[in-house]
């Protein structure tokens, strides 16, 4: 299709390809050129670096890096699922698989790399996979459903990522690495030893110094094992090859472009192919001018920038790049930067090593004290700062930078010490000066704004922590007050108010407001944000601070949201729903019949909930005490469906009935539900217990979920369903009953203590500094020394629990509140009426608009009472 406008054709739409498009747009080239992109994968560019996060709950959409509005705005013709098949350089034409032929003025190859699969027998058998694309992940996930064991060939970066994914899928996981240590490229022997220990502690089996000789297959042709070079055989259902990548240069070879001896399209410092001035190559398919193929995203981005600049006739060059990396592999921080292996002449090492704790830190220092590079395993907190100092003499002694806090001279070298030209985000080459400018000149006040403005932190994400510190420091320096207060009444966060209430034993909202509220709010009535938040804090701590443990007592009644105030759930027409507790979802027929009778007698709509209990809808406020009198009489108690508190602990039938079950999941679910019932928390809490790894109770989507193992229980935390689903993280494994309960006690109390208002455990876990590792340190290893207190707080809650509905129906003064009208206690609210639907009834919604309707039209909610 010949046109007048010059055409740029990009082959490959991966991370580097997308970056190249952005660089074209920034230089205005999308306005002056027709841009055509041929993409082989069925979806546009996504974050391949974060591929493994798919298994911790990210969807392919979350991983996407392509804003379709960007593609449309710039008129880019993006063709997914339509790879380039041939290039005719003489005619300057590209032919795609669909048959489309495009004439180009400039051709850019960003075809990436392909996984290297060693040429062993049966390498293509059913059950063999590579680890490169979202499609690979989906295939592995599917196959793992019927597998119990998986093996990864390759113990490098990607191999460990893949091993983490297999483990996350519940497989017994092996790693087979030919080199004598894991991650041989990035870490040295000491670092490899620390890494090995930590990874083995997680239950993965590591085989180093052995090669794969053959994939063993069964009669059906599917994988059953691997034969290793030491003569041993490893039984496995699934094999993932992750033994490195090779530049994808076949298209270039086919059209006669020069490639390197070991692959890679040869380019000059402008990323132009040495063979043809109309063709460029960028990213993992390119052999850079320094003779290297770069397999990391940051150098690829730099090449994308260079190619775009050259096309725009700007001066730019790519002469080589930093290979610094920081990754979290299987939950272990691993980082290497600069001259990690100490190849410079006369350089010296400073090493701190603690194999017991899985820590290894090495800095490479030049003669004159210049920091040249380093390796961090187990704790890479300092990575962002250290990498930025690389090439200069740090302002403190190097040993102070690697010693753990508390040992010797604990020096916290903050990012404030960095010079303005220090690169903070190496993926996008953003300096500290640029980040400061985003705050001072572009008026960004939050990390997300700065990320959007500068692109810093949007690549691998390893600099986000430093970014946060810089943004806050800059805001403070420029006098911008960052108001983290709960609401217009309190300048404190929820966590701070919790500490105040606990330390000063404050049992009254008015006291707290008048003594600790913002000046202007003192003496007032608070607001709809702080009243329930403080009500919840007081309720959580009630036995410890000496407040009433009954949420409708005294002033506490005025703090509760309407649901807690009426101990039922308000529905859209002003009626309420009623949910009695059914611990663990286990209920005897007699009690089921009682629920049925009550629902029938009061004319309620019934529905089974997702939490394995029964919800009865359509009760008017004055019916609630009558309904509950019967429920309490039959042995039911409040299900707290209305509260920011424990809802249910779901369970499967477990070992007692199920032929797969390995523990009594129902008993454990009942124990947990009865232990934590009534516990007020920052948001609702859901839980589940599964009797085996098949996970029928869906425990990994709960705030705290328990899965039975042959040896006890695995505890998962921070899971969530709902609008932003998140898979729970494994907190601890193979716990006894007592260990499990102690750990949950600590976890819940730590959450209640530190979470923001209405912050579910999933969001909390992602927000708090240090994340899951920090929570594990605190609740498993007692790093803050507060576990005794957390357990005591929970013990006080458990021993003081009383059923609030039983308490309410025995208190005439409280019952007086359960009326539609204070001046006509026997009159029902005329707006609450119902019409029939599917053998039950539903709210008469049109009535809400008209207010009243003649009496014979409506179906009375309380016909029989």
């Amino acid at each position: 299709m010949p046109t007048d406008t010059p055409t740029i054709v990009l082959i490959g739409h991966g991370m580097v390809g997308q970056r190249f498009l952005e660089a074209l747009a920034e230089r205005g080239l999308t306005a002056t050129h027709r841009v055509v992109v041929l993409c082989e994968e069925p979806r546009p560019a996504y974050d391949r670096v974060q591929l493994t996060s798919y298994f911790s709950g990210k969807t392919p959409e979350d991983l996407s890096m392509t804003d379709m509005a960007f593609i449309e705005t710039h008129g880019i013709e993006l063709r997914v699922g339509d790879p380039a098949e041939t290039v005719d350089r003489a005619a300057r034409k590209v032919t795609a698989r669909s048959g489309l032929v495009v004439d180009y003025d400039v051709l850019v190859l960003a075809t990436g790399s392909y996984p290297f699969v060693p040429p062993v027998p049966n390498k293509d058998a059913e059950g063999c996979f590579v680890y490169r694309t979202i499609e690979d992940l989906l295939a592995i996930e599917e196959y793992a459903r019927t597998s119990t064991t998986g093996a990864v060939v390759g113990g490098g970066l990607l191999g460990l990522e893949a091993a983490g994914a297999l483990k996350g899928l519940g497989l017994n996981t092996h790693i087979v690495e030919f080199a004598p240590r894991l991650m041989p490229v990035q870490v040295d022997e000491g670092g490899g030893a620390a890494l090995l220990r930590t990874i083995e502690d997680m239950g993965l089996s590591v085989h180093t110094g052995v090669g794969t000789q053959e994939i063993v297959v069964g009669e059906d042709g599917a994988v059953t094992g691997m034969r290793l070079s030491d003569g041993s055989e490893l039984a496995t259902d699934l094999v993932v090859f992750s033994a490195g990548v090779r530049p994808r240069d076949q298209l270039a070879r086919d059209c006669g472009l020069d490639v390197g001896e070991r692959g890679g399209i040869a380019v000059d410092e402008q990323c132009r192919t040495v063979t043809d001035p109309h063709v460029f190559a960028i990213g993992e398919c390119a052999l850079a001018a320094d003779g290297r193929v770069y397999g990391l995203v940051a150098p690829g981005y730099e090449q994308a920038e260079t190619a775009a600049a050259t096309i725009a006739a700007d001066e730019s060059s790519f002469t080589g790049a930093d290979l610094s990396t920081k990754l979290k592999l299987l939950g272990v921080d691993v980082a290497s930067f600069g001259d990690a292996h100490g190849t410079a002449e006369d350089c010296l090492d400073v090493v701190y090593s603690d194999s017991r704790a899985g820590l290894y830190k090495k800095l490479v220092i030049g003669r004159d004290g210049t920091l040249l590079g380093g390796i961090l395993v187990g704790d890479a907190e300092a990575y962002g700062t250290l990498r930025a100092f690389t090439g200069s003499v740090p302002p403190v002694a190097p040993e102070a930078l690697v010693l753990p806090a508390g040992a010797g001279a604990p020096v916290q070298l903050g990012p404030s010490a960095l010079p303005d030209d220090a690169v903070v985000c190496s993926c996008h080459n953003v300096t500290k000066g640029t980040i400061r400018g985003a705050v001072t000149e572009h008026r960004c006040t939050t990390v997300p704004e700065v990320k959007k403005c500068t692109k810093a932190g949007t690549g691998c994400g390893s600099c986000v922590k430093v970014l946060g510190q810089l943004v806050n420091a800059e805001l403070e320096a420029s006098g911008v007050e960052v108001d983290k207060g709960l609401c217009a009444c309190f300048s404190q966060t929820r966590e701070e108010l919790y500490e105040i209430v606990l330390a000063l034993r404050i049992t009254s909202f008015r006291d707290l407001l008048d003594r600790h509220g913002r000046e202007a709010a003192r003496g007032g009535d608070g607001c709809e944000v702080c009243k329930p938040a403080v009500g919840s804090i007081i309720a959580s701590l009630a036995p410890t601070i000496g407040a009433s443990t009954y949420v409708l007592d005294g002033e506490q009644a005025a703090l509760q949201d309407t649901n807690d105030h009426f101990l039922a759930n308000l529905q859209k027409n002003g009626s309420y729903s009623v949910v009695p507790r059914i611990p663990g979802g286990e209920i005897a027929p007699e009690k089921l019949i009682v629920i049925g009778e009550i629902a029938r007698d009061f004319g309620l709509y019934t529905k089974i909930t997702g939490g394995q209990r029964i919800d009865m809808f359509g009760a008017r406020v004055e019916q609630l005490p009558l309904i509950w009198a019967r429920l309490v009489d039959a042995g039911f108690e409040s299900g707290h469906a209305y509260g920011k508190s424990l809802r249910t602990v779901k369970s499967c039938v477990g070992q007692t009935w199920c032929r797969y079950g390995v523990q009594d999941s129902v008993r454990m679910a009942i124990d947990l539900e009865l232990r934590y019932r009534g516990l007020r928390s920052p948001h609702k809490l859901k839980s589940a217990v599964s009797g085996c790894q098949r996970e029928c109770a869906e425990a990994q989507s709960k705030d705290f979920g328990v899965i039975a193992t042959a040896n006890g229980w695995n505890l998962y935390v921070g899971g969530n369903g709902g609008a932003t689903p998140r898979h729970a993280d494994l907190l601890a494994q193979d716990l006894s009953d007592a260990e499990l309960i102690r750990l949950i006690d600590r976890f819940l109390m730590f959450y209640i203590r530190t979470a923001d208002r209405l912050e579910r455990t999933s969001v909390w876990l992602d927000r708090i500094p240090g994340g899951l590792d920090h929570v594990r340190d605190v609740v498993v290893h007692d790093s803050l020394g507060i576990c005794d207190e957390l357990e005591a707080l929970m013990a006080a809650h458990v021993s003081h629990y009383r059923d609030e509905w039983a308490e309410t129906i025995n208190d005439p003064e409280k019952l007086a509140r359960f009326v539609s009208f204070v001046n006509a206690p026997d009159t029902p609210d005329p707006v609450v009426a119902f019409v029939p639907e599917r053998d039950q009834m539903k709210p008469d919604l049109p009535l809400l608009n008209i207010g009243l309707r003649p009496a014979d039209d409506i179906l009375e909610g309380s016909a029989t009472l």
Partner: protein, 116 residues
């Protein structure tokens, strides 16, 4: 309809067009919470007391949903003025004027109210 008997000294009274309508005992009001009352013409009123004992009354119907629930909302102080937040979708209404604080175009009836 049965009206509750008047039992204590101070009564909460509402100004209707011509005269004062007795709603309930003052002691039936919990500071910071509301109650609903039924008027002779079938309308509903939400009556509130703040922490100082001041009384407020506005229409009980939540104009955003049609449900008669404003009496069950949480009260508070916004820039020195008393408000109630609807328990359904949380819009706030000024207790003195009935003006919705989250939507200029919406206002509910406010009533004159006293303890006598």
């Amino acid at each position: 309809m049965t009206l509750a008997l008047e039992t204590t000294d101070l009564k909460v009274q509402l100004r209707l067009t011509d005269d004062w309508f007795t709603v309930c005992d003052l002691s039936a009001l919990l500071p910071g919470r509301g109650v609903a009352a039924l008027l002779p013409d079938g309308r509903q009123v939400a009556v509130f007391a703040d922490r100082t004992g001041r009384l407020y009354a506005i229409d009980n119907r939540d104009p955003f949903t049609g449900a008669a629930v404003l009496s069950r909302g949480l009260t508070g102080t916004h820039r020195g003025r008393p408000f109630v937040a609807s328990p359904l979708l949380k819009q706030r209404f000024d207790l003195e004027s009935g003006q919705c604080l989250d939507d200029e175009a919406v206002r509910v009836t406010a009533y004159e109210v006293k303890a006598a």
